[in-house]
Amino acid sequence: MFLIKYIKEVFGAIRSLLVGMRLTGYYFTHHKEIITEQYPDNRDTLKLADRFKGEVVMPHDEKNEHRCTGCTACELACPNGTIKVVTKFDITPEGKKKKAIDKLVYHLELCTMCNLCIVACPSDAIVMAPTFEHSVFDRSALTKILNKPDSKIMEGVE
């Protein structure tokens, strides 16, 4: 009786190994579905999700105008002190003083892509861009000024 049990166990063990080997063999011969991304070579076709949180950018239109009013809501919402808004006063044609942004400084090296500044912005001036190749040789290159030089606020954005 002991011998029969022993032989049964041995055959059961071999069977369990073969079941696993069969599956491995199946995938070895049926490599239809290739899921590996050939990353540096597929840069042209690589498409990330629209909502991918890569870095904060400020979209400008063709007249070099942005939507930022300098309300500092993003600066207050940021948990890491990533954004610093530097404001100035413009003189409007009517001779009134108007608050506008001088610089919107963005420290990419401090950013954790938590999206809280985008949610906080009342005028949709900043968005997340689906980029991820951020490596640079000098850390100071990661500190960016988001508004372009000589850009102005869009008309009608308060």
């Binding site: 079941v19 696993g20 990330l48 999700a49 909502r51 991918f52 949180k53 999206n115």
Partner: protein, 371 residues
């Protein structure tokens, strides 16, 4: 005369496993006392990845601190955020819309599957099987893609905010989740063929790393670690939150108390998660995804505690508020810390080679233990 380096006075050998060791999955440092090949004592040394998250949270507002908790247990980031959001909602008495609650449960269960997938691959690799790692990552990639589309990130999503969700679902979400469910149901049977039934695997797991029910209670084990010892500890069943009270699912209990029981709990839990998602994916109600909240959240003076079931066990969030915009004190009760403390009683008397298998079944995430 002189004690040899690495030996104690009675001739036992002391060796270090970690902090840089491929089987500890992070910077866990274990000091083992060995008599020959038999383990006499396991002493975990913590603190290598301590980032003082609890202290950091004290200087952040109630909206800001949630993103930090994704970095505690990065494999169940959604559940960590859920616990924090629930705690703030409890303090502010915010009613979360039905739609947000349902989406939260679906996201939680997807995260649970992704976490168990990674555990399954890494655990099989600890035992010595390398291929399962790629099988599990193939399915996990699908979940990560779903997350990336809706939440914008693959691991540290920060998708839950007090009062609901940060953004609405992506239009393709339901379609992609249904595709994933069909695919995953076939693949989970392959897991059983590949690893569960394997005789070598079973011999390595059965009867190894015994954690009795009494020990599981006294060490405060939760999650699959406790359920492998027959201890009912599923927060989703015992103290239902979100819409867990309305969906049908089983609490998985195994009575083997050994490594194989803990393994089977997680494999069967993945099937239950699929069952929960199947019930909800067509029933996502229309409506707002976020409740209207005040611009600045101020919790009233008092103490608030909520808990959720993460992939590793019970995560508790305890907030002491003085009525200001920032919490006075935050304490996280993490599942990994209590589960790791049971390792000593599990490993005593067993062989050195089985230690890695035991650690694998505990499903340790070191940033969750250290915080």
């Amino acid at each position: 005369m002189f004690e040899e380096i690495g030996t104690t006075s009675n001739g036992d050998l002391q060796i270090n496993v970690g902090p840089q060791h491929p089987a500890t999955h992070g910077v866990l440092h274990l000091v083992l006392t060995l008599n020959g090949e038999t383990i006499k004592k396991v002493e975990p040394h913590l603190g290598y990845i301590h980032r003082s998250i609890e202290k950091m949270c004290e200087s952040l507002s109630y909206r800001q601190f949630i993103y930090v908790t994704s970095r505690m247990d990065y494999l169940s980031a959604h559940m960590n955020n859920h616990a924090c959001a629930l705690c703030v909602e409890k303090g502010m008495q915010i009613e979360v819309p039905e739609r947000a609650q349902v989406i939260r449960v679906i996201m939680d269960e997807l995260t649970r599957i992704a976490s168990h997938e990674l555990w399954w691959g890494a655990m099989a690799m600890d035992i010595g099987a390398f291929t399962p790692f790629f099988h599990s990552f193939r399915e996990r990639e699908k979940i990560n893609e779903i997350m990336e589309e809706t939440c914008g990130a693959r691991l540290t999503m920060n998708y839950y905010v007090p009062g609901g969700l940060m953004a609405d679902l992506h239009p393709d979400f339901q379609k992609k989740v249904k595709e994933f469910i069909i695919q995953f149901k076939q693949r989970i049977d392959e897991y059983d063929q590949l690893v569960t039934g394997n005789i070598i695997f079973q011999n390595r797991m059965k009867g190894v790393g015994i954690l009795s029910k009494e020990d599981a209670v006294s060490y405060g084990c939760t999650g699959p670690t406790a359920r492998g010892s027959g201890l009912s500890s599923d927060i989703r069943k015992l103290y239902p939150y979100a819409v867990y009270g309305k969906v049908e699912f089983e609490e998985i209990l195994e009575t083997g108390c050994d490594s194989f029981a803990r393994y089977m709990v997680r494999i069967r839990e993945m099937k239950q998660s699929i069952r929960i998602i199947e019930q909800l994916i067509d029933q996502i109600p229309e409506g707002d995804f976020q409740a209207k909240t005040k611009a600045v959240l101020k919790l009233p003076k008092g103490e608030f505690y909520t808990r959720v079931e993460t992939a590793r066990g019970e995560l508790g969030v305890y907030i002491v508020s003085e009525g200001a915009t920032t919490p006075y004190r935050i304490k996280f009760r993490s599942p990994g810390f209590s589960n790791l403390s049971a390792l000593d009683s599990m490993a005593r008397g067993s062989k050195l080679g089985d230690l890695v298998a035991m650690m694998g079944t505990l499903d340790l995430v070191i940033p969750d233990i250290d915080r």
